[in-house]
């Protein structure tokens, strides 16, 4: 017979203010099997834990109940404490009388009665607990990084610095991401390429970092320490090992197409590298537009390549690799402003976005650093910037603030004036959010030193008159209607999740929010972790982030990943499903409902009939103990260790015992 000890925590006044803890402890003395009860101010404190261990020895206790906070906070603490007292760590149950009782009630009497019931349930369960043993799984000491923008690059560098191998999977032909498109960065105005390209080169030169560009993650299976990932390496039609990036092919290619990297403001060829500093410096053939692929004509690139690197027959290749941890760094995409009628439904050529403007500012960009009107290529002198396009708009856009538009708009206004001191910059804003180191000062400088005109208000309409854009808005500070004839309008469009974010989330079993942004395990205390152990988040795939924040989360995520990999083996929770093959009917409904692919079928010889038959088998390392199989099993052949049917029945019976047999 179990000898149960019940320890009721005051949690300062968190519990004791609403629950009569002394009464709970007193009444618990009468529960079946309970040999000792007490209350204490902070059970989780060292003296509190010492008290448990002392009482185990003194009263010869074999099971422990701590009535305190949520098990998500201190279950681990008290499991270890129970173990230190010489008992199996699973001979412990936590009764949550804080989150589920004192914090949500104010009637002291009623709350105390509820707390007594909660403790009664825990005592009934703990008496039927079985001793469980933790098992261990080995760790694959490699990290997968999905996405090769600044956040993936930084994470890879940090992981490699810790001595672990890492693989970056990037869907574009080159790493670099959005940052590679920027001109200068706020608030210090260093050139984006000057600070990014050294990191790109470092990635390329590292022996510990493997690059899979023009590749995509197709399937993820397995679990922390042992993820199995299928990666599709899309056919580049160029042999990466032979090509040295001389550029002969793309110089001679006759097909000219709009360049995605230049936001369609410039041209690229059908065989191309997206930008001169691309890593790897190996071109890719655009199969949709290549003349040879489509019409079997041309073939110039193959003829001129000095290294015979062009391979029109190359096919997509799917490879499978193993990883111990995964860092998600898939970044963002821009909100499509064409839903806004007031900004011309995306029809006016001279209404562009911040990213277009960024390419124009860039001296190696499509305009050579000249600010022009896309409609006729003439210099744009009067530029209107509009902030919060798609951000902070619950009705038509995103409910959230995109966080960096205030800053990059200020930067772009400043650079406009630097490029052409004669130019005029007008900024329509709702609020200025410049909460960062030296950010507010920067915005002040743009207005005071550079003379950008800041107008607090919305733009009600943009329309064309005599070939110019008329921007009509209001200045709510002076209370006047304003009309500006502009050469160019730059919209600060919202940063949003990528369209296929959900697909990736489902592959990785990580949750996402109503805006399809990936959700961290805890917004304050686990900001780069996800609920799937071993999967970490960095950068704008989680929420809009500027470069400093992105780099910080990248380093944070890599520390977490390296922390995992520094272990030779990882413990797995023994609270998992178990099949009684004698009862199993082999219908495998459990296999169908298992979200983790943890159930396979196994052939056994029936003990009674001596015939072969199929039964379900649990893979302990894959099982998360969710209990889905448990409920799908009709004959009740599956039980969940730590939450066995007997334990649950014990709990129900403890509450209904004095109410007669209801069966």
């Amino acid at each position: 017979m179990a000898r149960i000890g019940v320890f009721v925590c005051h949690c300062g006044t968190n519990i004791s203010a609403t629950v009569d803890v002394k009464k709970v402890a007193e009444i618990a003395k009468g529960f079946p099997g309970v040999k000792f009860t007490t209350d204490y101010r902070y059970m989780c404190s060292e003296p509190g834990q010492d008290l448990i261990q002392k009482m185990v020895k003194e009263h010869n206790l074999t099971r422990i109940v701590v009535a305190a906070c949520s098990p998500s906070l201190h279950e681990k603490t008290f499991r270890t404490c129970t173990q230190n007292a010489g008992l199996n760590p699973y001979f412990f149950e936590m009764a949550n009388i804080r989150e589920q009782c004192s914090w949500v009630h104010d009637d002291r009497e009623e709350a105390t009665l509820k707390a007594i019931d909660i403790v009664k349930l825990a005592a009934a369960k703990v008496g039927k607990n079985n001793p469980l043993q933790t098992t261990f799984i080995p760790v694959e000491k490699r990290v997968l990084i999905i996405g090769g923008g600044i956040s993936g690059i930084q994470a890879a560098i940090d992981v490699a610095f810790n001595g672990f191998e890492t693989v970056i999977v990037e869907r574009e032909p080159s790493i670099g991401g959005r940052m590679a498109m920027f001109d200068k960065t706020f608030p210090t105005l260093d050139c984006a390429a000057c600070i990014l390209t050294p990191k790109m080169v470092e990635v390329n030169q590292s022996d510990l970092i493997k690059l899979y560009t023009y590749s995509e993650v197709e399937e993820v299976s397995g679990y922390v320490g042992n993820f199995k990932v299928k990666i599709r390496r899309k056919a580049r039609l160029v042999d990466e090992n032979k090509c040295n990036g001389c550029g002969t092919c793309w110089q001679r290619c006759p097909v000219r197409l709009p360049s995605e990297f230049d936001m369609n403001l410039g041209k690229r060829k059908a065989i191309y590298v997206p930008f001169p500093q691309a890593v790897p410096n190996v071109p890719v053939i655009d199969q949709e537009h290549c003349l040879y692929i489509n019409k079997k004509k041309c073939g110039i690139c193959k003829k001129v390549c000095p290294f015979e690197a062009i391979d029109y027959e190359q096919k997509d290749e799917v490879i499978e690799e193993k990883f111990g941890a995964i860092i998600v760094a898939t970044g963002f995409t821009m909100f499509d402003h064409s839903i806004y009628g007031e900004y011309g439904y995306g029809k006016y050529k001279n209404v562009t976005t911040g990213l277009h403007f960024e390419r124009m500012l860039n001296s190696s960009g499509p305009t050579g650093g000249k600010i022009v009107r896309p409609s006729d290529g003439k210099e744009a002198k009067k530029v209107v910037f509009i902030q919060c396009v798609g951000s902070r708009d619950e009705a038509r856009g995103m409910p959230y603030c995109s966080r960096l538009c205030c800053m990059y708009t200020a930067k772009q206004a400043l650079l406009l004036k630097e490029h052409n001191p004669e130019a005029e910059a007008y900024v329509f804003y709702i609020d200025i959010r410049a909460a960062g180191k030296n950010y507010e000062e920067f915005v002040e400088r743009v207005q005071d030193e550079y003379g950008a005109t800041y107008l607090r208000g919305r733009v009600s309409k943009i329309f064309q008159r005599n070939g110019r854009l008329m921007v009509r808005g209001c200045d709510t500070l002076s209370g006047t209607q304003i009309e500006i004839d502009a050469d160019l309008v730059v919209l600060a469009t919202a940063l949003i999740a990528r369209p296929d974010a959900i697909k990736l989330a489902q592959m990785l079993h990580i949750p996402y929010d109503q805006n399809r942004l990936f959700t961290e395990a805890h917004p304050k205390l686990a900001p780069v972790e996800t609920v799937t152990t071993g999967v970490f988040l960095t950068g704008a795939c989680q929420s809009p982030k500027d470069i400093p924040d992105t780099v910080a989360t990248a380093s944070a995520a890599s520390v977490k990943a390296c922390g995992l990999l520094s272990h030779e083996k990882l413990p797995i929770d023994p609270q998992i499903a178990r099949v009684d093959v004698e009862i199993c009917s082999g219908c495998l409904a459990c296999q169908e409902v298992c979200p983790f692919g943890a159930i396979e079928k196994e052939e056994i010889v029936d003990r009674v009939t001596q015939q072969k038959r199929w039964v379900a088998k649990i893979a302990p390392s894959l099982c998360n103990g969710c209990g889905a199989c448990n409920t799908a099993c009709r004959p009740g052949a599956i039980d969940l260790d730590g939450f066995t049917e007997e334990q649950i029945f014990g709990q129900i019976e403890s509450l209904t015992a004095d109410k007669g047999d209801e069966r």
Binding site: Q514, T519, L588, R634, P635, A637, R663
Partner: protein, 283 residues
């Protein structure tokens, strides 16, 4: 039709395609039929087929080992499909002799309730098919477009009236488990009602235990019951079990657009998990 049936059975046995054929034979002393198991060509003359062949013979498929032929009506084939979906029988082990069925009758000569709304006079899956001279589709009954008309009376009642109705029905249950034994989909070697640690269902006949038993059985059949109606037919105390199962069938069809036993490739909705499930509710 009987001659055709015997001929096909004979061929299957002769060509060693099956070792045994499960079919119907005339009962010794009345017009009814009983199941029979024929292992040699000489035995095929015992096979019969008429409106009294009501049993669902798929019940025996799991028990009979080796290659087996089975005589099956449209409704019986639905349970064979369900058994295949649930890994209980392998398709290549079973030869189905499908019968074009019209309307089967009970011992009083009344057309069975399920036959009046039947949609599968010709089985959905078979290896051999024995056609009827009069096409079944021509004898469509008026009620056939009202699949769930049998539920109307109960659905019109209030929740408490319905509860009282079923309480009166379950009160009669003597826990003989005939419903379970005759059900082709109640194939578990150990039933949940026999589990003693912990005891889910109180074993002796009592209203509470009977209620639990009958409701648990209906739940276990939800999205699986193919409406052969055998449970209701064999119930010695006449509990209208078909109404219970039919209601579950209707719920599943309304919610998931799924009818059990029609497509062996489809997954029953209650045992399905999809990665692309939006899971809006656990965000």
């Amino acid at each position: 039709m009987v001659e055709q049936l015997r001929q096909k059975a004979k061929e299957l046995l002769k060509n060693k395609e099956v070792e045994v054929i499960i079919g119907y034979q005339k009962s010794n002393n009345n017009s009814f039929t009983t199941p029979c198991f024929i292992e040699s060509e000489d035995g095929v003359d015992r096979l019969t087929w008429d409106e009294h062949c009501v049993y669902n013979l798929s019940l025996y498929l799991k028990e009979v080992k080796g290659k087996v032929g089975v005589v099956a009506k449209g409704c019986d084939v639905k349970s064979i499909v369900a058994l295949m979906q649930e890994n209980q029988i392998e398709r290549d082990r079973v030869k189905i002799i499908g019968l074009e069925c019209q309307m089967q009758v009970d011992e009083k000569g009344q057309v069975l309730e399920k036959c009046r709304t039947c949609q599968v006079h010709i089985p959905g899956m078979y290896d051999e098919l024995v056609r009827s001279k009069t096409s079944a589709s021509k004898i469509e009954s008026k009620e056939s477009d009202k699949e769930y008309s049998v539920l109307e009376e109960l659905e019109a009642k209030s929740t408490s009236e319905r509860w009282q109705f079923w309480q009166r029905q379950f009160e009669k249950c003597i826990r003989c488990y005939a419903c379970r034994q005759v059900c082709p989909l109640c194939y578990c070697s150990e039933c949940i009602t026999e589990k003693s640690v912990p005891q889910w269902i109180f074993p002796s006949p009592s209203l509470k235990g009977n209620t639990t038993w009958n409701i648990v059985r209906a739940f276990h059949l939800a999205g699986r019951c193919i409406d052969c109606g055998e449970c209701e037919r064999v119930c010695p105390v006449n509990i209208p079990l078909r109404r219970l199962n039919k209601k579950m069938e209707k719920e599943i069809q309304t919610m998931f657009n799924y009818v059990p036993g029609l497509d062996s490739k489809k997954k029953p909705p209650l045992v399905d998990f999809r990665v692309d499930d939006p899971q809006e509710f656990i965000r």
